[in-house]
């Protein structure tokens, strides 16, 4: 497999992560960042910081060193930093930068990239538990593009019109 092909698919992975994370966060209630469903379960703000942390860990395999992001004072800042990290990591992929210490694209995918994707699902679950669920959609037609990694993501092309878990006022 060519490295270019692998990296192109990893770039698409990051774009899907950006899209799904924003789907879970867009128009969330103001207090959502600090919503704690139960002791021992991360809040959305803690989850987003952790997602930034695992992606930052992935980045260390391009630049060396360590990455331990400190907690930021607002949820908004956490979200901004998360998208900045997505962009930085994607740039390393696009540049064809060398992976250090024998790291491979497969291990990036199975480790931090997939970690972050599972956490995006947890954000969506917390949205539901916080009483503000987001509608399902057909993701196969979603506008997910490798050059669109920021907070400004496309609206769903094909949201479900009927969904049993919809809020009563939906």
């Amino acid at each position: 497999m060519t490295t270019e092909d692998k990296r192109a698919l990893l770039g698409h992975f990051l774009a899907a992560l950006a899209y799904r994370t924003q789907k879970a966060l867009r128009d969330a209630p103001a207090s959502f960042g600090s919503f704690r469903v139960e002791d021992g379960v991360r809040t959305p703000a803690e989850l987003v910081r952790h997602m930034t942390s695992v992606l930052g860990y992935a980045r260390t395999h391009f630049i060396g060193g360590n990455y331990w992001p400190e907690a930021l004072s607002t949820f908004d800042e956490e979200i901004i930093r998360f998208h900045e990290m997505l962009g930085t990591l994607a740039q390393h992929l696009r540049n064809g930068d060398v992976l250090l210490d024998g790291m491979t694209e497969e291990r990036l995918l199975q480790g931090p990239f997939s970690d972050a994707m599972t956490h995006a699902g947890q954000l969506a679950l917390l949205r539901r538990l916080a009483g503000a669920p987001v509608p399902p959609e057909n993701f196969i037609v979603a506008e997910i593009r490798p050059d669109r990694l920021g907070r400004d993501q496309a609206e769903p092309v094909s949201p479900d019109k009927v969904w049993p878990e919809a809020p009563k006022n939906n």
């Binding site: 698919l9 899907a16 021992g40 997939s114 699902g121």
Partner: protein, 158 residues
Amino acid sequence: MNDKRELLRHTVATLAYRGGKAISNAPPDFKDFRVAADSRTPGEILAHIGDLLDWALSIAVGKQTWHNSTPLPWEDESARFFAALQAFDSYLASDQPLNAPVEKLFQAPIADALTHVGQIAMLRRIAGGPIKGENYFKAEIESGRVGADQSSRRTEFD
């Protein structure tokens, strides 16, 4: 084999490894644990993952179909999860044409399934039966290894 197709197979193997960990050794009655009135139970989520994998295969073969299944008993639904992974992976490993771009298969059913595995893991914690953390970087995840028999050599932590 298409170059990207092979990396999709590795993603499917990752789903098998991570999903297998999330669903194995679950607490009794975990299948029906409902954390809120309008949220899915783990059994419903796992059945949905099975539906997603069936959908993925139907897209790959060019006959897209969707079916909402009724959750099976936990062990049976777990077996269905691995069987669906095997069926999809076998198609990916074959010389048969892929009737959709790899990117689309990834961004829809497979990414969706990964997010739902994360949800089952979170529900395990809320239900009082958390799974251990793990450095998945080091996990022995191999393309084509998509059954219940996953590597036991793990770098786990509490």
